[in-house]
Symmetry: C2
């Protein structure tokens, strides 16, 4: 296949096309561990458009020449979703970097797709508003977060990214620029294509702009770090919290070893020194008193379920540090692990899933460290590199998946299918639904040019 770099330059300008391999390394990979990731294709051109119109022209060209196109945000994904695995064009969204409007009257932000989570949070904070979820790496871009329906911490009370997306501008694979939704809290006009685009992992269209719902900043917040000397006790506390009447914004579980490693990696200090595992609860309320009441209720629940120590962080910086150490765990763990998993089970089955992880670890004579967005039933068990050397990494992974599915769970709660989890879909998907997904893909993208080999089989 010939990719006509001159034709691409004619669309976006000479400065925004990269053809030299040594200059495009950062565009070829994502954050998937080396042991799991695929190889990028040989013949790749990176293009950096600045407008939806330019993307439209690139896609029309790609359709004429049948060239695969890989839309790319910040490359923070963990499933090779943005990786160009066939010769083709990478469209980097980095120039879509404007927060166009923070609408304090409607409590909405309008952001271009390349705006990072960090930028978004800063703009929202400056307007004295709140974007509740915190999908991990603050370098992630808005378009990627929506295409992947990112989750992360702080999704317990108000939900994952899907719940916040109210409007999209999308360039369809065939080049049409369309808008869906708006600054609207209710919208029932026809089939909801916007909700189909959310979590479509870049195979149905390229998101160029989003309208996202915000909340007023809560009058009070607090972060509790609760220590346990047995992770089963910690995990088994979670359903009790969910049933208590107080709904935290986040209920995270972290192994003590893992979180202290993340703190050290950042040159920071994890506040809790006791125990082998911790729950991190982020509380938000309508007043300081309300938060105090919530913190007391949470303390009672945790103490009644075996907690050995409870720290309460109230100052803004303390709370931000805890969230940062939690959010950056993957950076610390990545060099040590073969890979992580993203299984999700019904919240009341958290304890059973942890039992299953213990059994699998025992069977394979390994240690499975884990963290969890526990309030969402979403585990990230870590598989050590030694499993690869021993040739059992794949067996361990599949056993973890099967255990989750047996509990009514799924193989991915928030990271998505990408290109590396396609083969595991057969563990849980029925053929008819996969046929419908392929049909939808064909309808949107008749030449199968957009992010081929991703999300669906």
């Amino acid at each position: 296949m010939m990719i006509d770099a001159e034709a691409l330059k004619a669309i976006v300008g000479d400065d925004w096309v990269i053809t030299r391999r040594d200059q495009m390394q950062t565009y070829l990979y994502d954050e998937t561990t080396p042991d799991q990731r695929l190889e990028p294709a040989e013949n790749v051109v990176v293009v950096k458009p600045a407008t939806a119109q330019e993307i439209s022209e690139i896609l029309k060209l790609a359709n004429r020449e049948k060239i695969p196109v890989y839309p790319r945000g910040a490359g923070t994904g963990l499933v090779c979703g943005a990786m160009p695995t066939q010769d083709g064009i990478v469209i980097s969204m980095e120039r879509f970097d404007k927060v166009e409007e923070v609408d304090k009257e409607n409590l909405m932000i309008v952001a271009q797709a390349g705006v990072t989570l960090g930028q978004l949070l800063a703009a929202v904070d400056e307007a004295d508003l709140l974007f509740p979820p915190h999908p991990g790496d603050e370098g992630a871009q808005v378009g990627g977060m929506i295409a992947a329906n990112a989750g992360g911490s702080r999704a317990v009370k108000y939900g994952v990214v899907r719940q916040y997306v109210k409007g999209l501008e999308v360039v369809l694979p065939t080049g049409e620029i369309v808008t869906m939704g708006g600054k609207l809290l209710k919208n029932n006009t026809g089939l909801d294509l916007m909700h189909l685009l959310i979590d479509s992992e870049g195979i149905l269209g390229i998101i160029t702009r989003a309208t996202i719902r915000l909340y007023p900043k809560f009058a009070g917040t607090a972060t509790l770090v609760v220590s346990y000397d047995d992770r089963h006790k910690a995990i088994n506390t979670v359903p009790r919290i969910l049933q208590s009447g107080v709904i935290p914004m986040a209920i995270e579980y972290v192994d003590h070893d893992v979180i202290t490693m993340s703190a050290e990696n950042l040159g920071m200090k994890w506040p809790a020194q006791q125990g082998t595992g911790h729950l991190v609860l982020i509380l938000a309320g309508s007043s300081e008193d309300d938060v105090f009441y919530q913190a007391e209720t949470m303390s009672d629940v945790c103490q009644n379920n075996g907690a050995i120590d409870i720290l309460i962080a109230e100052r803004h910086q303390e709370q931000a540090d805890i969230l940062k150490i939690r959010s950056e765990i993957y950076s610390a763990m990545k060099p040590l692990i073969a890979g992580d998993s993203d299984i999700t089970v019904p919240p009341a089955s958290l304890g059973k899933m942890l039992d299953a992880l213990d059994e699998i670890a025992e069977k394979y004579e390994t240690k499975i460290a884990t963290i969890a967005h526990a309030g969402d039933g979403n585990f990230h068990p870590y598989m050590l590199k030694e499993l690869v050397a021993r040739g059992v990494a794949e067996d361990v992974k599949v056993e973890i998946y099967k255990a989750a599915i047996a509990l009514g769970g799924v193989v991915t709660g928030e990271h998505g299918v990408g290109k590396i989890r396609l083969k595991y879909l057969e563990l849980m998907m029925d053929p008819k639904q996969e046929e419908l997904m392929r049909g939808i893909k064909q309808l949107f993208d008749p030449n199968n040019i957009l992010n081929p080999g991703t999300a669906i089989r």
Copy 2:
């Protein structure tokens, strides 16, 4: 077309097929006003299956014979969405009436599609849990509420029905029985067909069972009825409430004349006697103190924005009465009106939309009474019957739609497109998205047998 009633009886049993016209009247209409509604077809058979398997067999028969099939919940819709407008089979879901499980551990309810909202609320209440939204008529069925993505009151804080649906069992138009999702708070496996089925108005499949997220019951609730002598002042208070930091579960606006008519119709008494319009705020909090604090904050905001009286209902029965009088407004208004509308605008444009309604009323020398799920930007303006006699009802309706669209709004926020709003989609839809919707319909339902002529053009 011949509909073989004997073949249908062989599937569902002799007792569950109605062929006599005089016995099927209640299955032929929904709650659309007579001035707006369509005529049911002549040759209709009503079938009442009890299992997904029976529905599958009916759909396979219908595909062989190319017979239109109209899935039907309680018929509480307002857009003829469930009406059989071509000769065909009505599938009534009334025998799918079991609450299968209230899962207190996972805070989920598993209900068959024919369970009514009233049944659902009772089962949830008995388990000391909460289903936050209240989509109006408590006779509505779960399947219909999901197929229509119902909204109603109490959607401000946690969203409309879409946000609560975590799992579905669906019979596809071609007869396959599939399940989507589960008791899961996060699930990113492939394209999200479940979110495509939600709000598909019965054209992509028949929902037979749903898994729905619940919340713990709030420790405290209160309902405020706030009176104004000018509805503009009331409506203009709403953005101030949304920005205050307290998020009510519901922010409703009602004209005084309209709400007192509903109370009288029910033999009840509306508690507020002052003013020409009222806001109704439903507050929920983590403690009695929290609710008290929220109520004080709300009172301050409303008083600073021109409220003349504020009543606070705290007893359960008082609050239930207020919600009931609000929810049953349509029953009182229906005999008096040509039709209502369901426009939705960005919340900060509520005031401008009200101005537009006033201008349209003045231009056509009529009165446009209105209620609104104001916190969601969702108005239901009422068009009086006299407009039909004067031959301008259609003009008034289109002007209302155009005004909403000009403000960034849509022609339906929660009632859906059904069969009577299809012609207004051209005011706002782009042809490419409509083409994609038709393609998806064709993919799911190649013979176009399921609820034809609904939701999409």
